[in-house]
């Protein structure tokens, strides 16, 4: 092997090492930019996610519709919903209720949810006169501000979803408190059948 050949081979080897070595750099993987929730050395609190500067209003967030955002008309809780309650609203409310409320209030609203079973203070059942008579604005207010040991859900549930949940709570209350006379004629026989079915069970629990 001549000296020249040796030179060529070592030059090639060096080039290959440089090319392969450059391929191992992670600069493009780890770019100096902020993606969601990435920590920051720049801000004192270490967060790249910035809170609003106090006193500023984001575009579209003036929230000047008092009924929609506070659930109140003047000083009183609103007896009305700020938008029509349609089937779609109720279904949205059902979904959101099951996500955010059912852990404590359970899926029927009696206050026996899993978190209560694990030791959280039991909330009142929705199926009592005091809560049946509260206007929708009251429930909206409680979701956004909390009540007693219940924390507020302002950060977790957007306002329209809160109203949808209120509508669904109304539906839950109705589901447990319909006078039999108000049932549609086609549902009456089902009620009678159900009564027959539950009677033997009630008896068997005493045995």
């Amino acid at each position: 092997m001549t000296a020249k050949q040796t030179q060529w081979i070592s030059a090639f080897g060096l080039l290959a090492a440089l090319v392969l070595g450059a391929g191992c750099r992670q600069d493009m993987h780890d770019q100096p930019k902020y993606k969601g929730f990435r920590p920051s050395d720049f801000f004192a609190d270490g967060r790249s996610v910035r809170p609003l500067v106090p006193g500023t209003v984001a575009r579209g967030h003036l929230n000047d519709d008092a009924l929609l955002y506070t659930g109140k008309i003047g000083e009183n809780f609103s007896p009305e919903f700020p938008f029509p309650v349609t089937r779609a609203v109720l279904e949205r409310g059902q979904e959101r209720y099951n996500i955010f409320c059912s852990p404590c209030h359970d899926r029927v609203g009696t206050g026996q949810g899993m978190i209560v079973q694990r030791g959280y203070k039991q909330p009142p059942s929705f199926h009592q006169d005091r809560l049946r008579q509260q206007p929708p604005g009251y429930f909206f207010h409680v979701i956004g501000n909390g009540f007693g040991v219940m924390p507020d859900y302002a950060a977790q549930i957007p306002v329209r979803d809160r109203w949808a949940i209120v509508a669904y709570i109304r539906a839950l209350q109705l589901s447990q408190h319909v006078p039999a006379a108000e049932l549609p004629p086609e549902d009456r026989p089902k009620l009678d059948q159900a009564a027959v079915k539950t009677k033997p069970q009630a008896g068997s629990s005493h045995e």
Partner: protein, 219 residues
């Protein structure tokens, strides 16, 4: 000058020519396996966190919906790391004296973030949006695996481009009804998926031919 190699070395030399191909093949295959292994991708390595949070306990045993904490998963590119306030919704009363949860209470008192370790860390040149995947019927478990069975959370899949493309080329293999997106246990037979998948891809208006455009993920 005597011969250095014995005549039998000829046979060895011939074998080596083919052997080299074989050895290179094995080495190449090994490199391929290594590149896809958890050693390189970080898959299946449970990550220690400041607080040993268990998805299995919260999502499975308590039945809390993913969206109770990951509130922005349907509307944003990020699913959302819950603020400490969300932890305190329950832990102000439950396990309120537990030493394990002291970092959570300290975070709540001092307004300092809990330094959670990111488990699914995509390269920065990848654009990923949770909301569109959720809106088009891709279940949490399709990418994250059975998070509801994990105590400490790990990354279930390689997150390599090959893995992304596997679904972007064949979304009908993975798409599910929108109502089942947050159902971690959702499972259908491959026979059902054969008819259901293409129907959902059409119904959800998934433009399959666009899903492999470079700029879908690199923008």
């Amino acid at each position: 000058m005597s011969q250095i190699f014995h005549r039998s070395a000829n046979a060895l030399a011939r074998a080596t020519i083919f052997g080299a191909v074989f050895i290179l093949g094995v080495l190449g295959y090994g490199a391929m396996l290594l590149n896809r292994s958890g050693y390189v991708t970080g898959a299946h390595v449970a990550i220690e966190q400041p607080v040993p949070f268990s998805h299995k306990h919260h999502a499975n045993e308590l039945g809390i919906d993913c969206r109770y904490c990951h509130t922005s998963v349907e509307v944003s590119h990020v699913a959302g790391i819950p603020p400490t306030k969300t932890c305190m919704n329950c832990h102000s009363q439950i396990w309120a004296d537990s030493p394990t949860l002291e970092p959570v209470r300290a975070s709540f008192r001092t307004d300092q973030s809990i330094p959670w370790i990111k488990v699914h860390d995509l390269p920065d040149f990848v654009y990923f949006d949770h909301s569109i995947h959720v809106a088009k019927g891709i279940g949490c478990a399709s990418c994250h695996g059975r998070i509801d069975q994990m105590n400490l959370t790990w990354q279930e899949n390689s997150l390599q481009m090959e893995w992304c493309l596997n679904c972007h080329r064949h979304p009908e293999t993975f798409v599910r009804p929108k109502g089942e997106v947050f159902n971690m246990a959702y499972k259908v037979s491959s026979r059902t998926q054969e008819t259901l998948g293409p129907r959902l891809v059409a119904e959800y208006d998934v433009h399959k031919e666009q899903l492999t455009n470079c700029s879908i993920c690199h923008r």
